[in-house]
């Protein structure tokens, strides 16, 4: 293997792959990056066995070949190199030499055979999605996944593909976020339900420019995303995902419309006094006033008020303020619409007056209040 690459291209490739390299691993080869030189250029790949990222960068390949190199060292070297072309050549199965200007390195690696092979995903049956649409779904839902180990399904984001739209849903059982967008991209998306680890989605969000068309294909337990130069593979979480539709309230008849920023700042003020662990606060809706109150033993109490548009009977309901604040962070409009049924039933939050195509809905389950 022998090739010459610009310092910038090398750095670009390494940055794309670096995030998929585990910082701590029992399998030494996983902390290495796979470097493959082909006729087209070079391909850099990394994996933590759940997610694999692979990217192609332009290079002058003199001799094809492959080897794995410690990712951290290679990245550190690339960062410090002078602005000259970088010559990389294998010397034997387990070592490379790297030359740049007057700098010279010999780095020990591991043979390419030790590197795990990528999941087989056939892009022949792929469908296409606009990267920006996917990113929009990811960033509005994946925050809501669960981190509890005992319900692994909820650790993933449900991605539903339908002929006219696609939808992502995430929940930790206390709150839920759901967004759908009409499918405008070319290709014929299949009807499919996938449960994707949020870590993989984060790579998708990070790696692909918003206007890029992504090819997506499903293997047996894996999913592959591909642009002309970069590919991401991820393990899928085995379903079935709980029937979320059943818990989305359809008959919430108390509706409040509030200014998002005013609501968030009142919640933040209340949070100062709310217990650090549970963030419990009380919301009391009564005609045009939303009254906040919080009492924490040994700490104190606080109240606040916010004018709102409210229809329905008066209501007292408790929430984890952190959940409400978190959702407000993702609400894309200035006003937010909240609906309720009863103090022990799910509340919904939606953007009010959203002009973009698509639907966004968040659910929050209340906290018990004691009188």
């Amino acid at each position: 293997m022998r090739f010459t690459i610009s310092r910038e291209k090398l750095q670009e490739g390494l940055t794309a792959v670096a995030a998929s390299i585990p910082t701590k691993t029992t399998l030494p080869v996983l902390s290495n990056i796979l470097v493959e030189a082909t006729e087209k250029g070079i391909r850099l790949s990394g994996t933590d066995l759940d997610i694999a990222v692979s990217t192609e960068v332009a290079a002058d390949v003199e001799q094809v070949g492959a080897i794995t190199i410690p990712a951290k060292k290679l990245s550190e070297i690339a960062r410090e190199l002078p602005p000259s072309p970088v010559k990389i050549a294998s010397s034997g199965e387990q070592r490379i030499t790297l030359d740049c200007g007057r700098s010279h390195f010999k780095i020990n690696g591991l043979p390419k055979d030790e590197f795990p092979s990528f999941p087989s995903v056939k892009f022949a049956d792929s469908w296409r999605v606009k990267s920006g649409e996917l990113q929009k779904l990811i960033s509005h839902t994946s925050f809501a996944v669960s981190t509890e180990e005992s319900r692994p399904i909820l650790n993933g984001v449900l991605w539903e593909l339908r002929p006219e739209f696609m939808r992502m849903v995430a929940t930790n059982g206390h709150r839920l976020a759901k967004m759908e967008v009409p499918v405008s991209s070319s290709g014929a998306p299949q009807t499919s339900d996938l449960i994707v680890p949020p870590k993989a989605l984060e790579q998708i969000r990070r790696l692909f420019p918003a206007d890029e068309e992504l090819e997506i294909a499903r293997g047996e337990n894996h999913l592959g995303f591909r642009s002309p130069f970069t590919a991401v593979y991820t393990r899928l979480i085995e379903g079935p995902y709980p029937n979320y539709d059943q818990v989305i309230p359809k008959d919430n008849d108390r509706v409040a419309i509030c200014d998002k920023i005013a609501l968030a700042s009142a919640l933040k003020r209340m949070s100062v006094i709310a217990s650090d662990q549970t963030h419990r606060i009380r919301l009391s809706f009564n005609s045009a006033i939303l009254r906040f109150s919080v009492q924490t033993p040994d700490l104190g109490e606080a109240t606040d008020e916010l004018p709102v548009k409210y229809t329905g009977d008066p209501l007292d309901i408790g929430f984890n303020a952190a959940y409400l604040l978190e959702i407000l962070r993702y609400i894309p409009t200035d006003e937010v619409r909240l609906t309720f049924k009863a103090p022990e039933r799910a509340a919904t939050l939606e953007p009010e007056g959203w002009s973009e195509p698509g639907k966004y809905l968040c659910l929050v389950m209340p906290l018990r209040l004691v009188d």
């Binding site: 910082t23 981190t147 709150r175 949070s271 407000l328």
Partner: protein
């Protein structure tokens, strides 16, 4: 602590028999130690600042107590040997709140009746008196010069009562009893210099001490004194102070218990038990702490005239007093300072190097903030966009020191006198335990309703545990109902922290509560709170972010017993700079 012991009344008078009869009668002279006790107390009552005790053959051959107190006039010295002759009280009402050790006027006559006695005494330097008696018979009273003070010499104890002499133990065992007696007195009267010799050999030499810890150090060595936490608490009219053993050290050295009330050492199991109750959940069952407690309370709340040796007293409101003592000890244990001291556990000092324990493995692991993946889903917002920044406002409380996570098990920080390590699981467990106990008492645990109810399939034993604890589980925030076929349906769960895994916690709690049906209510509360806290707390091996460590630290600081987990293990271990310097040869 010291009370004025010089008699305000001065001269000795024989008590009217009516008064004498009100005084509990009893045999004060049992063995050499009781003689020593009476004589030393007399010396202290006479305002001595220095007391020297000489003993031969365990006190069987000779006991000599010399003091630099007020001394006696000739007539008084003679009268002192008469029964119920005392200078310390006159009428029955003086018994209330009596401050002197003696007041019955029966010690000297009793001692003199079973020994050969000699008293050399002088109210001022020079003109003194020597009195001799044998078997209670006055043999003579002649002038003899000496310095101000009194020397009482008791020889051949029980020489005229062979039946009692036979009951005396060997010299060593009699000496041990004498040493105990002197120790008790030395702890109470730290202002007085006390010297004791046995068969001419100095056994202890105690200079006047600044405080209780100094006196303990003089008695048993500096390292022993280091193992104690200061108690100092006022509750109503009761002031409790003293020293109690750090929970981590309990059980590692001989257990010594010393209780004094209004300057009088007493024996009282109720107060000891109250102090021990304060250790509940900080030390394993079955081990008992060393205690040195001194209580000051109004004289009219206590009756000392119960026992001839005056070591037992009667309290008018024992319950209130015991609660005051318990609260005082609990408060002392509730400080970070009560955490285990690294390297300070290898008492006694006589045995090998005291600081010989192996060094702590302080391999600093990668700090948690660059750990893989966010631990809280809401920690790193994926999109900040135009949405308002909803990060928690920074705490404005006391500053939190920088914390470093070690081996994903401990948090380390620098404190005033050294390095402190906090066990993250124990700490969190303690925080949650107190939170849950509060929730059980108030019934206001936050309960998060679930979008998807959990279904748990239980074993018959677990089902029984669920049924017998369902009221308490409900108070903790678990809303669950039986679902038939050994299943329960959970609709709402507590939300004690963002990492909380409700399903696993409930499962493990029920599994470990099996067979717990008939426990008493309070025990059941504690057991459940402890179990749920244990299951809900972060574990060793969990990487903590900087924010989580801070939150843990602050919450731990607010608990009542930060230094101890609910199983009695240490939550906090301290490694003092002095110890570090010693290890690096800087001292």
């Amino acid at each position: 602590m010291s009370s004025s012991l010089v008699s305000p009344l001065g001269r000795i008078a024989v008590l009217p028999s009516a008064v004498a009869d009100q005084i509990a009668a009893g045999e004060v002279v049992e063995r050499p130690a009781s003689v020593v006790k009476e004589l030393v107390e007399n010396a202290l009552d006479a305002g001595a600042t220095s007391v020297e005790v000489d003993v031969e053959d365990g006190g069987k051959r000779l006991i000599r107590v010399s003091d630099d107190g007020t001394g006696m006039q000739r007539d008084d010295a003679i009268l002192a040997l008469a029964r119920h002759a005392t200078s310390k009280i006159r009428v029955a009402s003086d018994l209330v709140g009596v401050a002197s050790f003696g007041f019955r006027g029966e010690a000297l006559p009793a001692i003199s009746s079973v020994s050969m006695l000699r008293i050399d005494t002088a109210p001022a330097d020079g003109e003194g008196t020597r009195i001799r008696s044998a078997a209670g018979e006055l043999l003579g009273a002649e002038p003899a010069a000496r310095r101000r003070g009194t020397t009482v010499e008791v020889s051949q104890l029980f020489y005229n009562a062979p039946a009692r002499q036979r009951f005396l133990r060997g010299a060593r065992s009699e000496w041990r009893a004498i040493a105990d007696t002197l120790t008790t007195i030395a702890l109470v009267r730290r202002d007085v210099r006390i010297v004791a010799r046995q068969d001419g050999k100095a056994m202890f030499t105690l200079p006047p001490a600044r405080d209780l810890r100094d006196r303990i150090a003089a008695l048993w060595g500096g390292p022993y004194a280091e193992r104690f936490l200061a108690v100092d608490d006022v509750s109503g009219p009761t002031h409790t102070c003293g020293l109690v053993e750090r929970p981590a050290d309990v059980g590692l050295a001989s257990r010594r218990v010393h209780i004094a009330v209004n300057g009088r050492a007493i024996r009282d199991t109720g107060l000891v038990r109250a102090a021990e109750a304060a250790y509940r959940s900080t030390i394993p069952a079955g081990v008992r702490p060393a205690l040195f407690l001194e209580i000051v309370m109004p004289a009219n709340g206590i009756d000392v005239n119960v026992h001839p040796a005056k070591t037992e007293v009667r309290f008018h409101d024992r319950w209130v007093l015991e609660r005051a003592v318990e609260a005082a000890v609990r408060r002392a244990l509730g400080t970070f300072d009560s955490g285990a001291m690294f390297g300070r556990t290898a008492w006694p000092a006589a045995a090998a190097p005291v600081y010989g324990s192996p060094p702590v493995d302080v391999e600093a692991m990668r700090p948690a903030f660059d750990a893989d993946g966010p631990l809280f889903v809401d920690e790193e917002p994926m999109e900040t966009g135009a949405a308002p920044d909803s990060r928690e406002p920074a705490a404005v409380d006391e500053p939190v020191p920088p914390l470093l996570q070690l081996r994903r098990t401990w948090m380390m920080f620098e404190a005033g006198d050294g390095v402190v390590l906090i066990d993250q699981h124990s700490a969190h467990e303690r925080i949650l335990y107190e939170q849950f106990m509060g929730a059980l008492a108030r019934g206001d645990a936050p309960s998060q309703r679930l979008l998807f109810p959990l279904t748990l399939h239980l074993t018959p034993e677990e089902e029984e545990a669920f049924e017998s604890n369902s009221d308490l589980l409900q108070k903790l925030g678990f809303e669950a109902e039986a679902f038939g076929g050994h299943s329960i349906l959970v609709h709402a769960v507590p939300a004690p922290h963002p990492r909380f895994d409700a399903e696993r916690c409930l499962r493990e709690t029920l599994a470990s509560l099996t067979g717990d049906r008939f426990a008493a209510v309070h025990a059941r509360h504690e057991r459940l709170a402890a179990t749920v806290a244990c299951k809900a707390a972060v574990k060793a091996g969990d990487a903590l972010s900087a924010g989580e460590m801070r939150a843990l630290f602050v919450a731990l600081r607010d608990t009542t017993l930060p230094a101890h987990d609910v199983h009695g293990r240490s939550t906090i271990v301290q490694l003092g700079w002095d110890e570090l310097e010693r290890r690096f040869g800087r001292r």
